[in-house]
Symmetry: D2
């Protein structure tokens, strides 16, 4: 089969190679992959910034969707023909994340899914909502589930809450969509008026261009009558953390998501003085994925895809991620 390998760090070392077709072992399913999506973690991994000691070569990407073509011995939940996405952690089914579960993350330390065929434990795949294309379904395993975990599972947002989301990448646009699904209102920041206009079209109630308003946390407080927002989805890192905290109401929640920018000093004193909760979010369990899918299916929600590349254009997909010019998710399809 065809597959991509990170042979050395650097996007120029992403190679389309041949590997033997995998066979499904006991309790495994074999998935013919139709689509994939990229996360910022994938870019960091491929360029050596996520884990400089990563053993190479390695197949990149944690997210994909396809069709089951064969099931191994003992598989009970799936049959050939089922449309599935893989899960970010092959073996985090439910409950609290264990160390063992954490070690089953795909695409950084273990081979990822950017290959024609992938064999995974049946716990590592999940049926996808009928109305989604494979490319749309491929956006769910990391970015969507992380956001669902942040806002719905840990954040327990409800109708009438106000959510602040930073930027317009994959997680941030899912934050906008999931907040709206749950009846919350949303404030979005970006440096691009064009992206902010798109966010408003998707339902954002307020938008802030942080280039024009560098002290955007003051603007957020103003927009919330001085009270602050209920929840911040923080993907920006140390550069935004202090203003994110300043945007929160007393007793508010902030989800730490994604890979934070390096350097800079974080002041945790206001966290204490305002009874703030900071919750680290590293994707989520299959059980959460299942309830997210129920919401996506009921609302026929469509993930926002900036662009879908061909299988042979994988490096281009990584370069778009690097450019940060995208709005929503970047996909690959075949």
């Amino acid at each position: 089969m065809k597959a991509y390998e990170i042979q050395n760090f650097g996007l120029e070392n992403l190679a389309l190679i041949d590997r033997p077709d995998p066979k499904p072992g006991p309790n495994q399913v074999l998935v013919k992959m139709h689509a994939w999506s990229l996360n910022y973690r994938d870019l960091l991994t491929a360029t050596g910034r996520y884990n400089p000691r990563l053993k190479l070569p390695q197949i990149p990407l944690s997210d994909g969707a396809g069709e089951i073509v064969e099931v191994g011995a003992g598989v009970q939940g799936f049959k050939a023909g089922d449309r599935v996405a893989n899960t970010f952690f092959e073996r985090w089914v439910s409950g609290a994340e264990t160390e063992e579960a954490a070690r089953t993350a795909l695409g950084a330390g273990r081979d990822g899914v950017l290959a024609e065929f992938v064999a995974l434990h049946e716990d590592g795949v999940i049926p996808i909502p009928e109305h989604l294309t494979y490319a749309e379904a491929a956006t769910l395993p990391c970015a969507a589930l992380t956001t669902w975990n942040a806002l719905v599972v840990e954040g327990k947002i409800k109708a009438g809450d106000t959510i602040l989301t930073l930027g317009t990448g994959g997680v941030s646009i899912f934050a906008l969509q999931f907040a709206l699904l749950n009846g919350s209102q949303v404030i979005v920041t970006s440096s691009s008026d064009e992206k902010l206009a798109k966010a408003r079209q998707l339902g954002a109630g307020h938008t802030i261009n942080y280039k024009q308003i560098p002290a955007w946390s003051k603007q957020v407080r103003q927009l919330t009558g001085g009270r602050g927002v209920d929840h911040v989805v923080e993907v920006g890192g140390t550069g935004t953390f202090n203003q994110s905290i300043a945007s929160l109401k007393r007793g508010g929640h902030i989800s730490l998501i994604g890979v934070l920018a390096q350097g800079g000093e974080v002041n945790i004193m206001p966290v204490l003085m305002n009874n703030i909760r900071v919750q680290g979010i590293f994707v989520g369990s299959r059980e959460m994925f299942s309830s997210m899918n129920a919401a996506i299916a009921f609302h026929r929600l469509r993930p926002v895809i900036d662009r879908t590349f061909g299988f042979e254009e994988a490096a281009e997909a990584f370069r778009l991620m690097e450019s940060a010019k995208h709005f929503g998710k970047i996909c690959i399809s075949r």
Copy 2:
């Protein structure tokens, strides 16, 4: 001022009388009432079925809305001209309900609000969303808040959940509306196809005529792919409890609300076997009212009022409640 009194049990003993105008004491506000709403509890109270030993005469009704016309010494949160609703409990501000708070329920043991003027502790009133009429705001203190507490505070419903609500009275229609606000889907039961049609217009995904389908819990399971619903808002009482439990998914929640029909045997064995949670709900705190109002204001939700009677027609309002012909809330206005 004019006020109504239950002078003896029975709707024929509801008398429009004169009482001295109340004056706001320390920490009290004086509200000129513009509208009221009825709950089934008010009918039971007036007819002696809620508490046969109730000391009479007593002013009926727990729910109303109006305008503050005077504030007493020490009042900090309000001024004349503020549009407010009263709270069901005059002194349940936040946190867990205390015995002291429980004793401040209006309209059954303490005078209610069906009077031209009412003096209440400032903790006992709350600003109302701007887009609501007084009659609409008067539907909030008991029926709406009870439902919000059941679904949002205790039930923690989320996008994609499925809610079952029984009948089309005040609580049930708020359950439909609040479930939709939070992205959940709703199944409604009624004995009237006409009412079910209205429920569908309001957004109910599925409706069941329980006269035509007496074993409606089987229908509910079928509609949910055999799984059962996430949450039941139970207002029907012992006549429906067993089927409500049978409609729930494993680990599901059922809110016990309102005044249950007498008699009949309740089988609690399935509660145990299916890890069901049964949560008694007796209205809610002012803090919950505040977050409910945020949701109502943001979504510009309009409570469903079946009919609004004039102040002189109060007994007619009670009789409509007794007939059970209404859909949504019954109001009085002047």
Copy 3:
């Protein structure tokens, strides 16, 4: 191997028979059983009252402990020589209970563990605290875990809370012990002064002989300064439910546990009026078992065993259960 079978309903039809030695399949471990414990459910099952349509013959009992003697292909968490208990549900690892998990309960519908050897999925066994004998460990899978789930997982009891536990059977004595471990105080009821004296020795703060004080809920309120208890562990059934509810504080919790006595009418009105939570508890997950074991190990808690029978005396063990003369758990050992 030797094993017991329920060949027909009735304790006289409990037969010690020979069955082929089981072999561990993929992902299974083979356990040489050393000890077992009985629950009231086992008595009901053997006498046809739990499920009259149960397919016979069937090996009884859900609870046991022993030593792993062989592991099947793919087993990762265990090796021969490991001391383990089985779990009540062979496949409820963590998170919410699914229908699939519920179907893996042992001893009623599927063969139980009263046999010399048992082959189970590795998810269906768990290491036992070092300080426990096999008989002590055999008390954990159903009675202890149910109680832990009720008080700690769902009940979230804390230091200073007051717990009411009814009677002195297996669950009730674990409720006493686990409440004390978590710093709570305990009130115990029984019809036997002798058993109540034992409960006080174990640390019960107050005891009530319900034969001498039939209106024991009033006594409970008196003992709590009129306030009522925080949590009731209800194992008595419809005969005690109403008084249990009357013993609770406003907003209190009651766990429904075990198999309730038949008949009698349950009044759910006070559940509503006092914001009571009724939580059905049907054992618990392996993840809960693990945190329970951590507490048992740290405190070197010893389960209370009334009597341990020899493997050949299994019917005697059932008869002691039937007599209700025991205090704590009834075990079998070889």
Copy 4:
């Protein structure tokens, strides 16, 4: 009456002066103070490091206990002769903390309690457990309640959990005591072997001298079988934050308490990767105080007081705090 004033920043400017005796206004109680306790915040406040723009003069200290000698109009919950402590926030009764509640913190911006008489809203005092001396009760409003909120309310610790507490100041020793009350085990760090010996006498299971073992987080992991602790009570600030995070299990909780050391860089990346929850804790509500008192009373827990100074020796008390030589709380009594 006699009272202390911070007249200018610096302990040398703490002056014992005369002020008119306060009178209880409506809803207020007048407390004759018998004892006080110090928190690190009081030292920072008096020396201008907590809020350099604090309006002076101001009476210091947030914590005290005494006897009610007079009640104002409308007071319902108290009478002369009642033994009470004040609450840190005069008006945070229950539920979520509001901005209004936050502004009622005593001793930094509003006059504190280091005076012979203090008049407070009746919501701002609480009955104290009978077995406590006034000095012991004076330790509760800030340090004890903060710790209770951290471990019990937000942390939901349970029997068998492992808690790490840093140092041996007031909060840390309460963390040790409350963790033990709730059946948890405790690891304590300090730079003093003598203090660690005292901590072991109080029940600490493990102690670490962080001078001898600068990489103490590795030691913590070793002591927990590689898994990490369930909860860290972080009072040390930026100097310890990174190691505290490294001491936590996946999905663990860390409470940010007290006033953190200035400077230094905090790395929040591991918070994300390990699904850590960081919870800012700024004291707690009167409702929490009440449940803490129930636990203290039931267990007859005695707060650990390092030394009690006379009323005239207040400056000495501040200097002992400054020296950091104390173990547990520093009190003042008259």
